[in-house]
Symmetry: C2
Amino acid sequence: MNEPSSAFEAARRDGKRLMRLARTGALATLDDGKPLTTLVGVASDWDGSPLFLMSDLARHTKLLALDARVSLLLTSEGGRGDPLNQPRVTLNGVVRRREGRDGRVRYVQRNPKAKLYVDFADFSLRRLDVESVHFNGGFGRADLLTPADLLTPGDASALEAAEPELLDRVAALGDATLAKLAGQDGGRRVWRPVGLDAEGLDLQAGSEVARVDFDAPAFDPSAWQTALERLTG
Amino acid sequence: MNEPSSAFEAARRDGKRLMRLARTGALATLDDGKPLTTLVGVASDWDGSPLFLMSDLARHTKLLALDARVSLLLTSEGGRGDPLNQPRVTLNGVVRRREGRDGRVRYVQRNPKAKLYVDFADFSLRRLDVESVHFNGGFGRADLLTPADLLTPGDASALEAAEPELLDRVAALGDATLAKLAGQDGGRRVWRPVGLDAEGLDLQAGSEVARVDFDAPAFDPSAWQTALERLTG
């Protein structure tokens, strides 16, 4: 077996970050055999799969009822320089309903404006079950990635139960530590934790986003806290 | 006949601006009957139709050779607030080759980084012939627009011939006038003209874009200049 190349590892890290940090995506559905691309809000499920909060009244939702096959493009927000030289990832698969309360909590943490409509009767949470991946890291970087390279399967029920407390603890680290975790120490932005998973932590400051990556997944809440403490040392 | 409502006119203006100012879009092609969404660079043709500079090596280009039906999503760049409350437009239709040198000139004016590869043998210019439109102006603003509402047909050959000189004249107006045209007087950005058409002028300052709209189309170069002078006077 070959060692994974550093180019592969960079592609994998970029793809995972896009999946964790994106707040919108371009979703193509099928409309009588033709594609239709619309803008949708996204969050990430525990394993990294995209989550959507969709209104039954939206055109893409009506189309999904007829054919659930989609393609979702996630791009870097606010990147500098040529946008065609920024990493982006396309996730192809099937959209299904996502039951359970915690998905909505994750979605609203990531997209606080959705608080206004998350409990409306016509809104429901959906999940993209990823079947194939098309990754483009910028010019000359079109690595082959599979769903298994980008997803983090595992039992997240303990993390799910502990998430509110863990996020409170992260917030209590204070502005300076959070800015350092975001890789922005010295900046004036106030960062806040908006979600966590076995592989790390998502931070936001206004329209800016940042990701804290662990070396290895931590599905146990106390292991998660230890992993974070290692980074805040 | 009813007067066009102000909501309709606002939707039309937003749709046209997106088509003139977008530098990237999310393009859905068909891959064996399934959608595939990828990021593409865009510019606008004289009538407003999207232009692409595509490599034969790109996956979407290969798919277009098999089925030319696409859906292109254009979103506002760098908008503030909830991105789902910003205007966006989806243009559906068929992608065809665009012959003639001027299309490449327009594309590179808008996307200067493309200078590096515009003349590579595997790159060619394509145009989206828009057959239907899906407009979403933000919450509660999903107006019905047709291609005719968004396109500006007319003989642009005189404008095309005069464009280099007209752009030089616009640039010669100076930083303060250009900033005012961009609606950014008092700002510190240096704006430059990157394209024109019968309905106005496109300006860029780094990653920022701005549009100058005329009251009525001007296909004659001297009428174009008069229309601009009316705004700078």
